[in-house]
Symmetry: C2
Subunit: 254 residues, 2 copies
């Protein structure tokens, strides 16, 4: 099987054109077939604010109401996705920007409104990787927005780490897949110190002692899920190190 | 050669969810391979207004400044495009939403700033129809947003009729292509009366006598251009009549 890298770029990098350029220039230096999954950074919430859409927050998490879904569809599926595709084209990489609705690549179900109704948030049902494989075999780089659809005409907001992990898992029967979750930090940190290797036992310890908190918890769990689902290598690393062989926090399955 | 319909939907239909549903339900009843090209209606200008972006108008035409280009990329490439794709999926049609940057389908050059600088507006250089043909041959319906790219990392705003005409022309070596420009009117009108057939002589007469004015002029010229470039049939018709065999104003090349 040939190698494939599924690379997620997120966090504050998305908000900063110069950092995105740095990332994409490193990204295109990777020779292997690759899939890029992007988040939306804070552009969507900034856009909502400019549009006068009041944030609807329950239990510290933002609800994807109908207006917010429209903003997310615009910002993730349009602005961020097409800017990346145009930039990749200028760097000599033929890319195609896709949401989960396009070619029915990722279908999802709207999350149960109990106990908390998060609105138009989708949990991935199925990844249909055939077209992604076709693109990769023809030298095309798919660029996936964190949007899925429910098959009944609605787009859904889906976490970009989850998209990356699900797609990497689905492609693991055809490729030796590596999942890289890239952001502005060096990896999983304990204060100033990088944790270079992570297994389940260490993760639970770090979580239970409050070293790993908030958004890092689902990110790490998504990483372990990918390993469990056949992805060969998983790591969390800095966006500038995307083309380096070993970097950041490497996941170990045991 | 097999038949292909390149169908453009634009005008006020885009702004009206119910009309779009009516259109898309008729659209999916067409059995032949088909490409859908959409405009942006007034959603982009409404969004600009909500965002406090002042319209920059020269000689009666809106300038695509950098902020406006971002809005257009969001609204056309994200909101309108993905809504259509999700709806088509729900109607059992596997669709893929694309801008001209995706798969480098349409490259363009920023229009010369002299005599009037229209900003980030692109004139089509080249249509690369290979992937569109691949999709069509696999039963996929491409849905094209009116956005191109310049190959240097910038998206460009390109008229949707021009996109439809250029794509129909480029596909005419592989398909017997029909171009349909659909909108909320019945066709080209002389007052209350539908003009059922249009040739160059009649067009020039109608234009010179002020019957055909404003936005209808470039639309008709784009139609004649398509006929000249190998498109077999061209017509301008009402969006509700998209699946009917003969309807609206039919173009005749002489």
């Amino acid at each position: 099987m040939s190698a494939l890298k599924v690379i997620k770029i997120g966090g504050k990098v998305i908000d900063d054109n110069q950092k995105m350029d740095t990332f994409l220039e490193a990204f295109v230096s990777i020779r292997e077939p690759k899939v890029l999954v992007h988040g939306g950074g804070s552009i969507a919430s900034g856009m909502s604010e400019r549009l006068g859409i009041k944030p609807n927050v329950v239990a510290g998490r933002r609800i994807t109401d109908t207006e917010t879904l429209e903003v997310i569809t615009m910002v993730y599926g349009g602005l961020v996705n097409k800017k990346i595709v145009a930039k990749l084209q200028s760097l000599g990489v033929n890319a195609v920007g896709l949401s989960g609705a396009d070619l029915n690549i990722i279908s999802a179900t709207k999350r149960d409104p109990e106990p908390v109704d998060f609105g138009w948030v989708g949990d991935v049902d199925q990844v249909n990787p055939e077209w992604v494989t076709t693109f990769l075999n023809k030298g095309i780089t798919p660029v996936l927005a964190p949007l899925t659809h429910n098959g009944s005409g609605n787009m859904l907001n889906t976490n970009a780490d989850t998209i990356a992990s699900s797609v990497a898992s689905a492609l693991s029967s055809d490729f030796e897949t590596e999942l890289m979750l890239c952001f502005e930090q060096t990896g999983v940190m304990n204060g100033e110190k990088l944790i270079t290797e992570m297994n389940q036992l260490l993760y639970r310890h770090l979580r239970d002692t409050g070293v790993v908190t908030d958004g890092m918890i689902p990110k790490i769990e998504v990483g372990f899920q990918a390993l469990k689902n056949g992805v060969r290598k998983v790591n969390i690393r800095n966006f500038e190190d995307v083309a380096k062989p070993d970097s950041g926090t490497v996941f170990i399955s045991n």
